[in-house]
């Protein structure tokens, strides 16, 4: 039996797994040159499917089918310059590839041996060909994302060829549940969902709970706006999550797991479903896994568009078929969780760390990071940065390195103003703290949190009062409404900030905001409410001057807050009448070929005139 040719293969022991692993590696030796085409969500949106079709066609017509194989992989990281393609043999990295570029790649590079310069990524004045030499990649440390970009996420054999399921086999055949928990505790791994609770401690609580039925849950309800780390792992390396969950299930004594994936991620759901079915048919989940007597089944439950279901107890309540409202703790889920049974819930990234951790050992894992925060962290770099995308660095890496060395700096002509980190529970780091190490404690000191990893870079065109208002609006939308402090408290905070943005604020509003924030933080039922005031507190702390300008001077220095903007038509106006025609309230006066003027009393500040004018004759301030 040629193992590698079997579509499915029931592995009944560790020996079977090792035999398959060796067979796959051997078959790869004779294998063809690979072309990796990123099929992460971002590159798919940018058109990578058409690029793949073009490669299939060109490889065929060049007669290279035996020599070259095409692989669609998970997210490589730099979404902003996609679709991206990597030529394995010489590590060439191509950016912004279109279907019409593929002929050149095949003829000039694969056949002719010469890279296509126009598709290389520029670094300063030069173009860099090798992926490993690009600042975006060489400054990262891919541990959790080790397989993304190198394997076909819909092919379990690819995962196995990279050492996949070795950790699970090691755990099931040679470790006790106490030993597994101990290894995770030694590693210092902290939950990657945002709270940073020590994973080993959580597992130990559940392991000690006395109940025959226990549950292991994966929180894939990545709701933080600006975060797409978990999405990329789900789409790019779903087996790492399955393996991590299986190890966790063994450690706590569970035989049933659920992955709660948000409905906004249909591709992630699809890839995870394929992975679960494959793992099942290979005997890596199900009954009597690898002949060890350990059973685990996994099921996907989809979210339905409620941010609050990313909160542990709300997620549990949602799986039970209810409105996703959180519950008071104690009792904690490790004691009484899903259907009142001991339950462990961990984030996608946390589970994805586990196979690697078990393979290298807890002590080795703990060599990276800081004293209190070990390992690496994935960040989703977005906003006004040149290369936005997915980035993995050791915990404790300075913010500056992420924004400038990896992200390439600010994408506009304006200066860095703030990095918003931690989503709606987080805060803004101003320019003077660009060197802050990205670890839990250092960020807490600045009034921010690590959060799940969403990192939005903002330049001088962003109004920080408007940012606070934006997050309060989000929280008001997503608050489940169960407890008064969150439901009413954030509503009152939003009313105050709205007033400030409209130029109707008073100085006493700032004290009232702080007082409300303390009340909401201390008395809300769950993490959503408890952290909802953070964006306000953080912007008040680091950007108080802007609040004062809005109140005292009725001025928004960035011309974002609508009611405070003034639109003006300059002398260069040639009277073409274009703006007059689009103004929805007829606030623009002026005859043809005459200087036009805006009646500021009527102006609703919609901005249509500004976007319509082709002569740069209209400004706002």
């Amino acid at each position: 039996m040629i193992l590698t040719e079997e579509k499915t293969l029931l592995l009944k022991s560790d020996a079977d797994l090792q035999a398959l692993y060796k067979a796959i590696l051997k078959s790869k030796e004779k294998n063809s040159e690979k072309i990796f085409i990123c099929a992460g969500g971002g590159c798919i949106a940018s058109g990578s499917k058409k690029v793949k079709e073009a490669f299939v066609k060109q490889i065929q017509s060049a007669g290279l089918n035996e020599k070259v194989s095409i692989m669609e992989t998970g997210c490589l990281g730099p979404c902003a310059i996609g679709p991206v393609v990597v030529i394995e043999k010489d590590d060439t990295f191509y950016q912004k590839v279109r279907a019409q570029d593929v002929k050149d790649i095949v003829e000039q590079h694969l056949i002719g041996g010469k890279v296509v310069e126009s598709l290389l990524h520029p670094v300063g004045e030069n173009k860099v060909a090798k992926k490993s030499e690009l600042p975006f990649f060489k400054n990262q440390d891919k541990q959790v994302l080790r397989n993304c970009g190198k394997i076909d996420p819909t092919e379990i054999k690819d995962y196995i060829s990279c050492g996949g399921y070795q950790a699970l086999s090691k755990v099931l055949t040679s470790m006790s549940s106490e030993q597994v928990v101990q290894e995770v505790s030694i590693s210092g791994l902290r939950g990657r969902g945002g709270a940073g609770f020590p994973t080993g401690t959580k597992w130990n609580f559940a392991r000690k709970s006395i109940d025959e039925t226990k549950y292991i849950l994966c929180n894939a309800d990545e709701g933080d706006p600006g975060a797409f780390m978990d999405r990329s792992i789900l789409e790019g390396d779903p087996h790492s999550i399955i393996e991590g969950m299986a190890i966790g299930a063994f450690a706590i004594g569970s035989s049933q797991g659920y992955v709660y994936v948000r409905a906004e991620y249909p591709l992630a759901v699809e890839r995870l479903q394929i992975a679960i079915e494959q793992a099942r048919s290979f005997g890596l989940i199900g009954e009597n896994i690898l002949g060890t007597g350990f059973n685990l089944d996994l099921e996907i439950r989809k979210g339905s568009g409620a941010f609050v279901c990313g909160e542990e107890t709300a997620l549990i309540t949602s799986i039970e078929g209810n409105r996703g409202e959180p519950r008071p703790r104690p009792p904690f889920p490790a004691e009484k969780g899903l259907w009142n049974k001991p339950t462990v819930l961990n984030n996608v990234e946390t589970f994805s760390n586990i196979p690697f951790l078990i393979n290298v050992g807890g002590a080795k894992f703990a060599e990276k990071g800081t004293e209190k925060s070990k390992g690496t962290k994935i960040f989703a770099l977005a906003g006004t940065v040149k290369i936005s995308g997915l980035v993995e660095v050791p915990v404790g890496t300075p913010l500056r390195k992420l924004v400038y060395d990896i992200g390439g700096g600010i994408s506009t002509s304006k200066k860095f103003k703030a990095a918003q980190i931690g989503g709606p529970s987080g805060g803004c780091i101003p320019a003077e703290h660009l060197d802050v190490p990205l670890d839990y404690e250092s960020l807490n000191k600045l009034g921010a949190i690590m959060g799940s990893g969403g990192l939005i870079v903002m330049d001088e065109s962003n109004c920080m009062v408007d940012v606070a208002r934006f997050f309060l609006e989000f929280v008001q939308d997503e608050s489940c409404g169960k407890c008064v402090p969150c439901r009413e408290g954030t509503a009152r905070m939003k009313q105050i900030v709205d007033r400030i943005c409209e130029g109707k604020g008073e100085m006493k509003d700032l004290e009232e905001l702080e007082l409300l924030a303390i009340t909401v933080t201390n008395s809300s039922l769950c993490g959503l409410g408890q952290t909802a005031p953070n964006p306000v507190l953080s912007t008040l702390r680091h950007f108080k001057e802007e609040y004062i300008e809005h109140i005292r001077d009725k001025k928004c220095r960035t011309a974002v807050c609508k009611e405070l903007i003034v639109f003006e038509i300059l002398d260069v106006c040639n009277g073409c009448q274009a703006c007059k025609k689009v103004c929805p309230v007829e606030a623009i006066l002026g005859d043809k070929k005459q200087q036009h003027i805006i009646n500021t009393e009527l102006c609703i500040r919609c901005g249509l005139c500004l976007s319509t004018c082709k002569f740069d004759a209209i400004v706002k301030y």
């Binding site: 971002g42 949106a45 902003a80 706006p225 409620a306 078929g321 996703g324």
Partner: protein, 175 residues
């Protein structure tokens, strides 16, 4: 878990209801069945009809008040029929700082409807989303399952025309 596709066979409502009843029974013994059943209903009909709510309540033995409570809690469920194309403008942080509000304004103007409303010709429903995880390509709008990236207010008309003509605008021209 079986994927429930939106029915396009032209079956009448009764045919769909029969299909729904089959689905409800297939989930009946699963713990926490209500939400997967509602998700299947939403997929099948494009919204959750009153008749479906009654059937679900009856077969799953859940009080009507509870079923209604769950439907109205989650933003993915709609009690009203939606348009042929569901537009969701991402107002996540990355999209917001890259101008998503202006894109939303442009869409409102083009379609002449507010958030949550459907155009009179039933072609489009306008809604907002809070992050689809494609932040590297902000600002994003989703039309059904298609992701449109780097959307400018001036580019909105072309995208809408594409759907009116039943063609998807070339993604590569989106930037």
């Amino acid at each position: 878990m079986a994927k429930v596709e939106k029915c396009s066979c032209g079956s009448d409502d009764e045919g769909l209801m029969d299909r729904l009843v089959e689905i409800i029974f297939s989930f009946k013994d699963k713990p926490g069945a209500l939400i997967p059943v509602l998700q299947a209903t939403q997929s099948l009909f494009g919204f959750i009809p009153q008749e479906a709510i009654l059937k679900i309540s009856e077969i799953l033995n859940e009080p009507l008040s509870k079923v209604h409570g769950v439907i109205t809690f989650y933003s993915f469920f709609s009690l009203k029929p939606r348009g042929k194309n569901l537009i969701r403008v991402c107002l996540g942080t990355a999209c917001y700082v890259q101008g998503a509000n202006e894109v939303l304004t442009a869409l409102k103007q083009q379609l002449d409807i507010e958030i949550g409303e459907t155009t009179p010709d039933k072609m489009f429903t306008l809604d907002v989303g809070r992050c689809f995880g494609a932040c590297g390509l902000a600002p994003i709008i989703m039309v059904n399952d298609d992701v449109h990236q780097w959307v400018k207010p001036s580019g909105v008309k072309k995208i809408l025309t594409g759907y009116k003509n039943k063609k998807v605008v070339n993604q590569e021209e989106g930037k």
